[in-house]
């Protein structure tokens, strides 16, 4: 499979860039941050994005999607990284829809995927419980009861928690042993009795929160995939999520790099453009190389997803680790090379470093993925 974009993908990239720069430029993000409303995102914008086909970009046509593939999704996320567009794209399209696509029963797909594609349904994963991404250590319990399960426990850092219609909850259904990890995934509507959401206010001004499950009962039909065998499905969903987040981080990296490059060509000190200083030129040239590497590994990872390759986990961790490493360096350097103005809230740069740090932590940071990469490779 080629690592160049085909014509359709280039058209999607162009139209996504055009749409976002008109309808959701960084100024829209600033407006949203300065005047927070109860939803924490712009519902009209989300409806417009869905009308573009983005909410159903990976959903098969029979369930109301456009089935454009992961490369298409990655291109959109990359452009959203550039404009810092806030929407349920990550929580619902990248993660929720993927879980249902890969593990949902025919009934679940029929009921939920069309609603995701139209933008009606917000359906995040309720995954994390501690301060670090570590899904295997899940302790939220789901115990069998008459015709269903009863959930007890607390989830944190649930994306779009307070606006979610339904959660896909990772729960422990039996103890971990040699044959299975004892994890399962459940669909839980947010208005179910016993579900409480605590909205949190995060660094990136995006929606996240804690969700408490207190004797929440759900039916057996709510299980996504096989009971006790959720680990494999979860890993596949997380591979997609990590690659999608890498695409967003790629957009952020390119944007801050370009902002910095323009600044070095404008700003004068000591009577010359600061971009003429070799100490700065070499840093920029090195970062340029890093971005090219990042573009390639993200493109390749998306390609592997579309081709249905087996070893996607290794590539997913490689991509996330590489992007986390690069975006950390680029955002830090961007502030340093801008000098004082980079520290001011009036300038947009700060938004990017804030969003980057949250996206870095989402579904595993640099250290997590470096370790996972080694584990998956047998050392």
């Amino acid at each position: 499979m080629s690592l160049s974009l085909n014509e359709e993908q280039m058209m999607l990239q162009d139209s996504a860039r055009g749409f976002l720069q008109t309808k959701a430029p960084v100024s829209a993000f600033r407006e949203l941050r300065d005047h927070p409303d109860k939803d924490g995102f712009n519902r009209q914008l989300w409806a417009d994005m869905a009308a573009q086909g983005w909410a159903g970009i990976t959903i098969p046509e029979q369930f109301g999607g456009v089935d454009f593939g992961y490369t298409g999704l990655g291109l959109i996320l990359e452009e959203m990284g550039r404009t810092l567009t806030v929407s349920p794209m990550v929580s619902t399209v990248l993660m929720g829809a993927t879980a249902l696509n890969l593990g949902g029963s025919p009934a679940q797909k029929t009921a939920l995927l069309p609603k995701i594609a139209t933008g009606e349904l917000i359906i995040p994963l309720a995954l994390e419980e501690t301060r670090h991404h570590n899904p295997e250590q899940t302790s939220l319990r789901a115990t069998p009861v008459d015709k269903g399960y009863c959930l007890n426990g607390r989830k944190v850092f649930v994306l779009d928690a307070h606006v979610a219609d339904t959660f896909i909850v990772l729960a422990r259904t039996s103890e971990k042993n040699a044959n299975c990890t004892g994890l399962s995934l459940f669909l839980v509507d947010s208005d179910t009795q016993g579900v409480t959401v605590e909205r949190a206010h995060m660094l990136d001004s995006r929606n996240a929160g804690a969700v408490v499950f207190n004797d929440v009962t759900v039916s057996s039909e709510s299980v996504v995939g096989e009971i006790d065998e959720g680990q494999e499905l979860l890993q596949s969903v997380l591979d997609v999520a990590q690659i999608g987040l890498s695409a967003e981080l790629l957009g952020i990296s390119q944007q801050v790099f370009e902002m910095t490059l323009s600044y070095l060509k404008e700003r004068k000190q000591f009577g010359v453009h600061i971009g003429s200083f070799q100490a700065l030129q070499h840093r920029m040239a090195q970062m340029f190389c890093q971005i090219e590497l990042c573009k390639s590994i993200v493109r390749r990872a998306l390609n592997d997803l579309d081709a249905g390759h087996d070893n996607v986990s290794i590539v997913a961790s490689a991509a996330k680790a590489k992007l986390c490493e690069t975006v950390r360096r680029l955002t830090n350097e961007a502030i340093q090379l801008h000098g004082g103005i980079g520290m001011t809230d009036e300038f947009d740069l700060g938004f990017y470093i804030k969003r980057a740090r949250v996206a870095q932590q989402t579904c595993g940071d640099y250290n997590y993925h470096l370790d996972r990469f080694a584990r998956l490779n047998g050392y």
Binding site: S2, L3, S4, L5, L261, L264, K265, V272, H273, G275, S276, Q278, L280, Q281, H282, M284, A285, Q286, F288, C289, E292, L293, C294, K295, S296, I297, R299, R300, V315, A318, A321, K322, E325, L370, D371, F373, A374, R375, N377, G378, Y379
Partner: protein, 391 residues
Amino acid sequence: MLELDEFRRETRHWLEQNCPAEMRLPIREEDDDCWGGMYPTFKNEAQELWLDRMSERGWTTPAWPRSIGGGGLSKEQSEILHQELVRIKARPALLSFGIWMLGPVLLKYGSEAQKARFLPDIVRGKVRWCQGYSEPGSGSDLASLQTRAEDRGDHYLVNGSKIWTSYGDKADWVFCLVRTDNAAPKHEGISFLLFDMKSPGVTTKPITLISGKSPFSQLFFDDVRVPKENLVGEINRGWEIAKYLLTHEREMIGDMGTQSVSLSELAKEHIGLRNDMLVDPILRTDISRFTIDEMAFSDTLKRAADEAKAGQEMGAVSSMFKYFGTELNMSRFELMLSVTGNYSLGWEGEEFDEGNLPRAWLRSKGNAIEGGTSEIQLNIIAKRVLGLPSE
């Protein structure tokens, strides 16, 4: 599409019939490589046969025109030939600076007479070329070169010295940058000359490196007479040619970074696992970081090739490949030392494989210097790709 499939079938069949079994074994020693030349030393019959058969078809230079002996293959066909050669693990039939460096220059800047005279011998490996670029006083500032070629009517008289010439002592001919106008600004007084290394006044001296014996030598020119017909391109316009050749050289050096030994496998063998993890956790991290960079780099080479095919050129990428490819190669050797511990310190003796590893490690330090230092590559990226100002 059908034609390409047919080409692949034919190529596969021909290679099966014509590539000798010995030429499909891994390269172990220096003389396993075939460099050709006027007085070639073939290690065995198979090596000579393989060169004859491949060059007969022009497949030592698959994409060069048929008229001068090349293969006349399209980009797609060349790629297929390459894949089929890799498939049977065939050794290169011929290594040659004529193919990698001088050939592209002559194809672009050479006169018809020069193409007809020099290119067929390059294809067949009949003449071995070397490069006369750097000088003792002109390294990164290559354009400050001082080797002089004076116009003496029917010939040029060349005086000066060149350094870092690979296989200068084994080459038949040299392609050389010389100063033909002392008064002009430094980039505008340089010309590109070809001459016979057996000309009176040419001497060579080998250079020993920190890694030991090396293929490099220094060349000395003392009143060397060079016929005027050996000037390539226009007089005093050689700098453009020099730069064109350097992009080819950069791509070649950058490519060398992709080697196949798996560091993690090597580490498992030399260091071992505990609870399925390498016993040295810091090395485990370093290897992961390196391996991910290596993956991303090879993906970038593939992406550049795919985008070029699709007509979406990435722009001046040779500097990036040269810079990052050589940095990676140097990191790889540093990690190999860490992984193999005191074994890597052995310099001589069979138990240390004659010090191959530390010698290769030391040699790799030159990767970021030769063909334009890493710093020069970063300058090129900053100026030509990023368009950063000079004041």
